[in-house]
Symmetry: C2
Subunit: 338 residues, 2 copies
């Protein structure tokens, strides 16, 4: 099964595997953009097509996003505590603000609650949201409750920034930067989905925690505002979101194999071994890390950013290793692999 995809994203497999896809998602999102075209409306600076919408108010830019977390699509109850569900829903949504370089102002939370979800569990979920809200400095200022068949948490956030960072401003010659870790969350999910096999040790703990309790990189995103040219979060996986960035900027991206290998976390290597999967595969295609991918001039690279490639002329995502270059297949990101 697949995770959610903001209107701005359109990886071919982001809703469901190709063999069961009733919707041509790429065409569909193009159609949505056309139907809802509104970039010229008053106050609207950026409409559909980026991590979040941007409104302009009193000299400030407001960055506004929405994200849903649905039982049996984004998580299973066996894999997350109720508090984790609350935490995760807020940080996943906040990651869009991080990508735009915005500081959270507030959140609204719409909860769809199944009848079997008793009050004591709901309180745990709300406590997870509250803790996430504290960690983000982002008060939850309202919401909505409704019954439903399965649990779903839809979160909308507003952030503010002087000037929102977009995914469409990469330039040929920019370096490609990774901020945060790639692949850990997918490795953690692999451990959880695989049952008890290989579920012990601090490396496993770190990976599982990366999936259960992601942290939106708000401070890093803000630090990129004066430094980076284009930014996107890699919730859809490094390759998938590099594609979104490349398409929006009308450039190609070359991943530097040695540079990327060098920044993989030791815990990722260890857990990938236990899962019998290449660590690089998890880093390239594993989603939900909520790390940031940015481009910018070498001279402006901040300390938190690690170079993993460069922006080049052309189309698509390329893999450069020992002087050779080949196209990276766009197989979408891993999620609920069972």
């Amino acid at each position: 099964m697949a995770k959610s995809s903001p209107f701005g994203k359109h990886s071919a497999r982001s809703r469901k595997p190709a063999n069961s896809r009733p919707l041509g998602e790429f065409e569909l999102i193009a159609q949505i953009r056309q139907l809802f075209a509104a970039n010229s409306a008053e106050f609207v600076k950026v409409g559909i097509g980026d991590d979040a919408a941007v409104l302009s108010f009193g000299g400030k830019e407001l960055v506004w996003t929405i994200d849903s977390s649905v039982e049996n699509v984004h998580f299973r109850f066996e894999w997350l505590s109720d508090a984790d569900i609350g935490w995760r829903s807020l940080h996943a949504a906040a990651s869009d603000l991080a990508a735009m370089g915005a500081i959270p102002v507030g959140a609204l939370s719409a909860l769809e609650l199944p009848r079997r979800f008793r009050e004591s569990r709901l309180v745990k979920l709300l406590e997870g949201q509250r803790d996430a809200a504290h960690s983000l400095g982002c008060p939850i200022v309202g919401g909505n409750l409704t019954s439903a068949e399965v649990l779903a948490v839809t979160t909308t956030l507003i952030g503010h920034t002087k000037r929102a960072k977009l995914r469409s401003s990469a330039r040929v010659g920019d370096e490609l930067w990774l901020i945060g870790d790639a692949g850990l969350a997918a490795a953690g999910l692999g451990c959880l989905a695989g049952g008890s096999r290989g579920r012990r040790g601090s490396a496993v703990d770190r990976c599982v925690q990366a999936w259960r309790r992601p942290v939106a990189l708000i401070k890093h995103g803000c630090a990129l505002v004066g430094q980076a040219r284009a930014v996107i979060d890699i919730s859809d996986g490094l390759v998938g979101d590099a594609q979104h960035l490349a398409e929006a900027s009308r450039v190609a991206i070359e991943l530097d194999a040695e540079a990327l290998e060098a920044v993989l976390a030791d815990e990722l290597r260890e857990v990938a071994d236990r899962l019998s999967r290449p660590a690089l595969d998890l880093a390239l295609y594993g989603g939900e890390d909520y790390a940031l991918l940015a481009t910018g001039s070498r001279l402006k690279r901040p300390a938190v950013a690690r170079r993993i490639g460069q922006v080049v002329d052309g189309k698509g995502i390329w893999w450069a290793t020992r002087g050779r270059r080949r196209r990276v297949p766009s197989r979408g990101f891993d999620h609920f692999e069972t």
Copy 2:
């Protein structure tokens, strides 16, 4: 089954009938308010507790709301076209802006899409949203797509106003005003839920249309800004929302039976007869009309507002007829009565 309830609302039956309620909703929302207390945060002028949150930016107040519309909870596919579902979800959410006297700036739409919901149907739903967006002058500037078991549309809107109207500012001595019609939507739902019985004629058409294609009273809401003291929308039914207003303002409300009888729409009387239900019952307890209930000084009553009672000292909702007074039972609003 019940409709959704914003965190600010807390009618005892707004989530589900009392006999199957695992959650003490009144206590729960009090708990949510306590957990999420954030009225003192930067930019946040009003947090949980009204139709919408209010943020303060550059001399403007931004009114921000979220609302969900879930298959088999808020609608059934037999009763609404896909375009109706799109239209209805946006206007229902926009009604919270109307109540606060705000002009829509933009909307985000999070769609949970079941696999059986094919692209052609989704496009109809999106067209319904687009038409609603045009009618409201409210561009849809982003959103999110995810798979799910059942269809759900969660909509967040931002509006702007000089000064948001709250539900907590009613004063003893104010008149109680109704803006728009009460009971039509519930009558229309009654026709739909009752199958083909009594489903013909222009009165039925008007009631069914009131349920299928509600219209948020944005202009009326804005017109109330300089005139009314407190405003709320009656999506939870006239009595239910009068209670919310009375509780928030720490006053009692006396409904004037003759005045209310006088403003009932002829179509409501006709359809109520066919449904063998008292028209007044539908007007008092029928939800989802998205009309507005306001209080204000007699001297400031605008032309669109019709007096149906007054604000008095005390607690609760009272029914005044021919000089006698009795308490109105708080049985919550009708929805999916089957």
